[in-house]
Symmetry: C2
Subunit: 372 residues, 2 copies
């Protein structure tokens, strides 16, 4: 495996952990936020820009790359790193999340999932073996097991059966996994139910993976409480020395609450999606840059921010670009928003060091959301 | 005036000229191609990228900036350079080209032009005085006189009257021009008619401007022959020591033919527009990167090209980005296409030095268009 993880420290007041990822001779700190590059490109950004803003692992989507350009093209290019010119670590998801959103309940069987692809409506069948085979060819550094992603609000009986099948799928995937450079992660499901999360975690750990994810969060309109329970009930049964990854999480408060509950890695499309819609993170909340009041605001999004966008451009200019539908605007906001989340993770790590993460959480909540 | 022009050499075999533009302590060579940044951004690119690919003067559109964000916002930002963070030279057009495409013939009067703006249909009135006042506020380094742009195919009598009015408009504009940092250029019209071009050039030179443009080219489907006549008949009557600019020209062969006929500056949206449509310039013609045959072509657009896109990315990857509608693809192709035109201008200058520009033209034509 090209990627190594070393747990450095455990917080004494929360389940928070500080670790180091060693990759290609470089070190990256965890907890970490991972930007998403669905189509082997983090929307609007170059690999150099990602490095400049402090990105480590980035995520690419197996489902999208399977369909276009196809895993064989990426393999022939020499794998994802060479294809997209990114020499930092890359994680691929299993494709499950997209596939389940396209499939009808009756199209999910023990063997796999039948669905119509979103590009041309062709019927496709995805199985654990196929998902792993695609990811092996993409040659990411971390591959994910193929799991069913039932909504947190699914009924208990369905969740239980789904988890049991996901465990069988995890075993099938592990059996065919065949890329010595690549880690394979298992995924814990179980909604907000303690006994289901416990069962899923213990059984998945029994199979044995290089890291573990908390799945079934942020794919439905579950309550924050249920999301945090999912973190808490899952990490309780995960081994200390392995990475823990909460899938699809990018809302600032959820990153903090996730770390408090023992999560190391997070990913989300939100910073780049917010950017395309003209929104920017600030330490005092999200702002809509298109707002009229910014049209003659000749200062950066945040005075104290050191990102490229804030060092060289004013809110007035970025607003103009967004209003005029110029992609350089989305690029500047993407830089700022991802940089913001990386800075947030840095602050989280500092507060883990000083055992003040809960105080930081309370202060951040008040500053960012304007409430206690 | 912040921008200085020094004519260095005149070719002995053609009307081609080599010159130097001195600006902000930096030197730029002419003949030069100028990328277009309509909304105070060269689409998809950063100012740093423009500098890296060798851009000098860039163009911004007065009409677009007048409407959005408005010249007062740009002035309050400290002018275009500060607003868009570009410290190289900037040229603004007069807005005439856009306005005439939106106006009906009966809405053109001695006073100015009435038209409906393309954003919300509001009626607006643009005059020579207004155009210059807006450009003064934008604080570009070169402002253009407000001229009527009749198609080259307009009838002779109309062209004659239009030229006479354009000369009166040029005088009115010069009278109100009030920005000591800014050059003001006059514009020669007259379609493909020798006597009209001569009249327009001599009368415009009589008023006295800091440089001269050849207008009324590339705004209609005129023949190449007529376009080249317009260059030739105009530059014949223009003073050696002043810059000559052919507006809206970006097709490679036209750049060479323009230089042969005494032009120093060219601008066009074509390199960035081609990029957004997935096309790339190569020394053997334009290629459509979306073409299926590139899907597994793991080499750069051009092996010998030193642009960022060619140094780091394959045709297969860029094709994938364009097909997946990812803006990073348009960005890579924009970098390549503008770099290509800058390289073409460098080759043109080399061939001016060695008095071989016509031989270069013939060779280039064969290589690029596949014909003699």
């Amino acid at each position: 495996m090209k990627l190594q993880f070393k747990l450095e420290k455990k917080d004494t007041k929360t389940r928070g952990r500080i670790g180091t990822i060693i990759y290609n001779g470089r070190e990256y700190k965890t907890p970490m936020f991972m930007p998403v590059g669905t189509n082997a490109t983090v929307k609007t950004l170059s690999p150099e820009e990602l490095k400049e803003i402090g990105s480590g692992i980035i995520l690419a989507n197996t489902y999208h790359l399977w369909l276009r350009p196809g895993e064989d093209i990426v393999a022939a290019a020499g794998g994802l790193h060479k294809f997209m010119n990114y020499d930092g670590p890359i994680l691929t998801d299993s494709g499950g999340f997209q596939v389940f959103s396209l499939a009808r309940p009756k199209d999910i069987s023990e063997e796999g999932v039948l669905f119509k692809n979103h590009l041309n409506g062709d019927k496709l069948f995805l199985t654990p073996e196929k998902s792993i085979a695609i990811q092996n060819k993409l040659d990411s550094d971390i591959a994910m097991s193929f799991d069913e992603c039932p909504p947190a609000t699914a009924d208990y009986e369905y969740l239980k059966q789904s988890i049991e099948r996901t465990i069988r799928w995890a075993e099938r995937g592990k059996k065919v996994h065949n890329n010595p450079n690549q880690m394979l992660f298992g995924i814990v499901q179980g909604g907000p139910h303690y006994d289901l999360r416990k069962f899923s975690a213990l059984e998945t750990v029994k199979i044995g993976f290089d890291g573990y994810a908390v799945g079934g969060v942020a794919n439905d309109h579950e309550s924050k409480e249920d999301m945090y329970k999912a973190f808490e009930y899952s990490t309780e049964f995960l081994p200390d020395e392995k990475l823990r990854y909460a899938m699809g999480i990018g809302e600032p408060i959820d990153l903090i609450e996730g770390v408090i509950r023992g999560i190391d890695l997070f990913d989300c499309v939100s910073p780049t999606r917010l950017a395309r819609h003209g929104h920017a993170h600030t330490w005092h909340g999200k702002i809509n840059v298109k707002n009229n009041k910014y049209k003659d605001m000749f200062k950066p999004i945040e005075e104290e921010c050191n990102c490229y966008a804030c060092k060289h451009y004013t809110l007035a200019y970025i607003r103009h670009l967004i209003v005029a539908n110029e992609t350089f605007g989305a690029r500047l906001l993407s830089i700022h928003n991802i940089y913001f989340l990386h800075q947030l993770m840095a602050k989280i790590r500092e507060n883990l060091e000083s055992h003040t993460l809960e105080e930081f959480r309370d202060k951040f909540y008040q500053d960012y959301y304007g409430e206690k």
